[in-house]
């Protein structure tokens, strides 16, 4: 048998059952794993959010003790950020990047497998301490907020679980990013120059660089926590000459780029969707690329706007205020570009388009409150209240999450070969939209009126708005089961999708058959 024949035979061999998923090096299989993993985490983190909202339905403590409540807010944040949003974007990248740049697969398939299979172990390690206690209510999960500020986190008994979970998550993200960068820079079809790349590919390229830059910083922060706790160092312990504020500087040097890591790929997704359903080219492609790069750059030099109350010198506060409000400029450019793409188009409103438009509207509201928060004197009033909670949920739910769901709807027919049910898709969109706004809009008011965040119980004047938020949260939460049903139904069958799927489709992925073949482009397409 010749060398070539062996090679080909190997390619055609698809292990079945559990082995297919454990040993797969295929970008589509790994993309699927990432997406299902993130969906499970989304439901888990969502369930925790519902525990929070159920407890806050009325004043007084009815359901869970305060320590358990803090555990819920902490794990909800960590799971949504590291378990749901980030892996979902890597899942989308795995599926789409090779197809959008005309490549057969990712550049580093075995590392791809590894970067996924670390995740379930990391998530288990993060959540496990919750079940280590006499009874359920005295679970010992982390209860110091997703920002794990020292010295509070240093009081945590099971800190090592948390630290190593974060390390694993970091390994996974860094490997995923290296793979995406290697793929995009090396495997583009001939003629596909950087400035011809689809926006989704661009935003992911920039995101991957952000990840590689900041994940090691996070790893450093948790390692210092670990040695403070178990090896007698005093990086963050004032009693030993350390500095608790240093922790916050390090954390937010990671944390601020992190929030852009969670939003930039969503910008990419909606920059794909809107032109398709407006049947018009993306307005200002070049300025979109430059705006994304500027946002990424600015994200590194604004971190201390999360820390206006720690007592920085006035000059420091002024600098961070100016730098922060500057981000409004490139962000505004993006919003204007999307709005102008729709302007004088020929629009239809299939489910992906609804998600994209919903994102532009609601993310913009989150952007406005972001600007308000950036103005330091006013931030003293907003800081650590529900106003902040409202702000980042408008950005992360109706920005990142809506972008992900929009992307899944948009590409699902290409992945499965079947059309999803438009009726269910629209029902899911509208229920989510109503639930989301009912949950988070009133939080602006509770926050302005003075309710601090991460409170297990609250004074009576906040009762009405909290009740609205709780009702909204349950509508929002249970609506996601429609998504689960819709996706399973679409995988199982349905009206066959055409190769082009959408009338206004643009880009290489739509030149492949639906469902897309196992090895995307065996011969590179030619781009003119």
């Amino acid at each position: 048998m010749s060398e070539t024949m062996t090679h080909d035979a190997h390619h055609d061999e698809h292990p079945s059952g559990i082995k297919r998923w454990l040993f797969t090096t295929n970008h589509k299989d790994i993309g699927t794993l990432y997406l299902w993993f993130s969906f499970i985490m989304f439901l888990l983190g969502g369930t925790m959010a519902l525990v929070i909202r159920a407890e806050l339905f009325q004043p007084g403590i009815q359901i869970v003790d305060p320590n358990f409540f803090n555990m819920m807010t902490t794990l909800h944040g960590l799971i949504m950020v590291f378990g749901a949003i980030m892996p979902a974007f890597v899942g989308l990248a795995n599926w789409q990047v090779p197809m959008m740049i005309g490549a057969p697969d990712m550049a580093l398939p075995r590392m791809n497998n590894w970067s996924f299979w670390i995740l379930p172990f990391a998530a288990t390690m993060l959540v496990a301490p919750m079940f280590m206690g006499g009874d359920f209510m005295s679970g010992q999960g982390p209860a110091f907020g997703w920002t794990f500020y020292e010295p509070l986190s240093g009081q945590y008994d099971k800190l090592a679980f948390f630290v190593f979970a974060v390390h694993l998550l970091g390994f996974s993200s860094i490997m995923g990013s290296i793979n995406i960068i290697a793929t995009i820079l090396n495997m583009r079809a001939p003629g596909l120059t950087l400035m011809k790349m689809p926006m989704f590919v661009w935003t992911w390229l920039i995101t991957a660089f952000l990840l590689i830059a900041v994940m090691p910083v996070l790893a450093g922060a948790v390692t210092m926590m670990l040695t403070d706790k178990y090896f007698g160092t005093s990086f963050f312990d004032a009693a030993g000459g350390g500095d608790p504020v240093l922790f916050q500087h390090i954390f937010w040097f990671f944390g601020h780029p992190e929030v852009y890591i969670m939003i930039l790929p969503a910008f990419g997704v909606i920059s794909e969707i809107i032109p398709t359903f407006a049947r018009k080219k993306l307005f200002g492609y070049a300025s979109m690329v430059y705006a994304t790069a500027s946002i990424a750059f600015l994200s590194f030099i604004v971190w201390a706007h999360h820390m206006f109350t720690v007592g920085m010198p006035v000059a420091g506060e002024l600098y961070f205020m100016y730098a922060t409000v500057m981000i409004a400029v490139p962000t505004a450019v993006k919003v204007f570009n999307w709005a102008t793409t729709m302007w004088r188009g020929s629009m239809t409103f299939e489910t992906p388009m609804l998600w994209a438009i919903g994102t532009v509207f609601l993310f913009t509201i989150g952007g406005f409150t972001g600007l308000m928060l950036g103005v330091a004197p006013a931030d003293f009033q907003y800081h650590d209240t529900y106003f902040v909670v409202a702000h980042f949920h408008y950005v992360l739910v109706s920005g990142a999450l809506f972008g992900i769901i929009g992307g899944v709807m948009y590409w699902l027919p290409k992945w499965t070969g079947n059309m999803y049910s438009e009726g269910l898709g629209k029902l899911h969109f509208w229920l989510t939209m109503i639930g989301m706004n009912l949950t988070f809009f009133p939080m602006h008011f509770t926050g302005l009126a003075g309710m601090p965040r991460r409170y297990a119980d609250y004074p009576l004047q906040f009762a009405e708005f909290n009740q609205m938020s709780s009702i909204g949260a349950f509508i929002f939460g249970f609506s996601q089961l429609i998504l689960l049903y819709l996706v399973i139904k679409c995988i199982k069958g349905g009206e066959k999708a055409t190769d082009k799927v959408w009338e206004g489709s643009h880009g290489l992925e739509w030149t492949l058959p639906s469902p897309a073949p196992y090895h995307s482009f065996e011969t590179a397409p030619e781009i003119k």
């Binding site: 010295p151 018009k280 007592g311 302007w343 406005f368």
Partner: protein, 382 residues
């Protein structure tokens, strides 16, 4: 303010419809917005907040109406045909520069307000505020200092399955045992620090918020315009009882403030004398005083339970080896805390008599039976 349950429901529904734009104006302005500020800086911050808010509203109306217009008019079902309008250097330059100019217009007033907020010079009065898990210690710097924690009635009511209808409690979670009393029309400077984790000191109507950080002394200030009681809460997650360490400021005119201060000074002198006296106390006296501290000022029951049964992950005292072992170890734990855990050092919070009393109470209650501790033992261990 006190609500009935069903009233909350009705109000909620009314608000919901208001929010959906269906009902009329029935809310006081400050329920949807900041609490009314009671100083100049607060009013300046409020104006700045409203300025940025209205800028956002105007820009939002512009962008959203353009989008809504195209959603309605430029749809395929209406026969709209797409154009090739996908680039315009002129438009793009304009919408980059205009936001930039708006931001400069915001940055100017913001800068002047910020400089004013951070100017803590020329204070008439300085209060040292020490945050503790989960209470505040106020020190006037003249021998008067006290710990302020959540009012005992509220503390009882807020427990899970307490059986108390919290909606019947006035100022639920916003009442303390010892209020911070301040004079009006004086520049009061706060020096903030913490004995354990990071907390944050916030009274919304004073429009100031500053973190209390171990190893740091942060400064902030306020001048209060009018007499009254102002309520705030801790705003940095500080552990399980983060929601239960309110700040209550009672602002009095100069005469009332001075009268209050004289009374405090006398009381402080008396209790210091009592603790310093080398008296040997009876077990019954120590237990009685200890119980009051355990369930009140000391806040011990927050973690260890009202009956020494422990709360969540925190250790129980009933039958514990420390409470039944040698007194030295027990004194050490209470005086110096336990490093790397939530157990605080009480050496700065309680005097010798108080520490002796609370330890004796713990060693003689809930089935524990160990030796009693006298103030002199604590003094020797310091």
């Amino acid at each position: 303010m006190s609500f009935k349950h069903n009233k909350i429901m009705t109000k909620g529904l009314v608000l919901m419809s208001l929010w959906l734009g269906a009902a009329g104006q029935s809310l006081a302005e400050y329920n949807l917005n900041f609490q009314e500020p009671v100083n100049d800086v607060g009013r300046e911050i409020y104006d700045l907040h409203m300025l940025v808010f209205w800028i956002c509203v105007v820009v939002g109306i512009g962008v959203f109406s353009m989008m809504i217009y195209s959603i309605i008019m430029h749809r395929k079902s209406k026969g709209a045909v797409s154009t090739d309008f996908h680039e315009s250097a002129k438009v793009e330059v304009v919408w980059t520069i205009v936001p930039f100019i708006i931001l400069i217009a915001v940055a100017i007033p913001a800068t002047s307000t910020l400089i004013k907020i951070e100017d803590t010079s020329n204070a008439d009065l300085t209060i040292k505020v020490t945050a503790l898990q989960w209470k505040w210690k106020y020190d006037y710097g003249n021998g008067v200092s006290f710990i302020s924690s959540l009012h005992p009635d509220h503390n009882k009511a807020r427990r899970r399955n307490s059986g108390v209808d919290v909606t019947k409690i006035e100022n639920y979670l916003l009442e303390v045992d010892n209020q911070l009393v301040l004079p009006i029309n004086k520049k009061v400077r706060f020096l903030l620090t913490s004995d354990d984790v990071i907390h944050s000191f916030w009274v919304p109507q004073f429009a100031m918020k500053k973190d209390a950080i171990p190893g740091y002394v942060n400064e902030t200030w306020t001048t209060i315009d009018k007499e009254g009681v102002y309520r705030g809460q801790c705003t940095e997650l500080c552990g399980q009882d983060h929601a239960f360490m309110p700040i209550v400021v009672n602002a009095k005119n100069e005469n009332d403030y001075n009268a209050w201060m004289d009374k405090q000074k006398t009381a402080a002198a008396a209790s210091a004398a009592e603790a310093a006296a080398d008296k040997v106390w009876s077990e019954a006296d120590l237990v009685a005083r200890g119980e009051a501290i355990y369930k009140g000022k000391g806040g011990c029951f927050g973690c260890h339970g009202a009956n020494g049964e422990g709360v969540a992950i925190f250790p129980k005292l009933a039958g514990s080896p420390v409470a039944n072992g040698p007194a030295d170890k027990h004194i050490d734990v209470v005086l110096n805390g336990v490093a790397g855990s939530a157990m605080a050092a009480y050496s700065g919070q309680l005097n010798d008599l108080e520490i002796a009393a609370v330890i004796t109470y713990e060693r003689k209650s809930w089935g524990n039976n160990a030796s009693i501790v006298q103030p002199a033992d604590v003094k020797a261990a310091r």
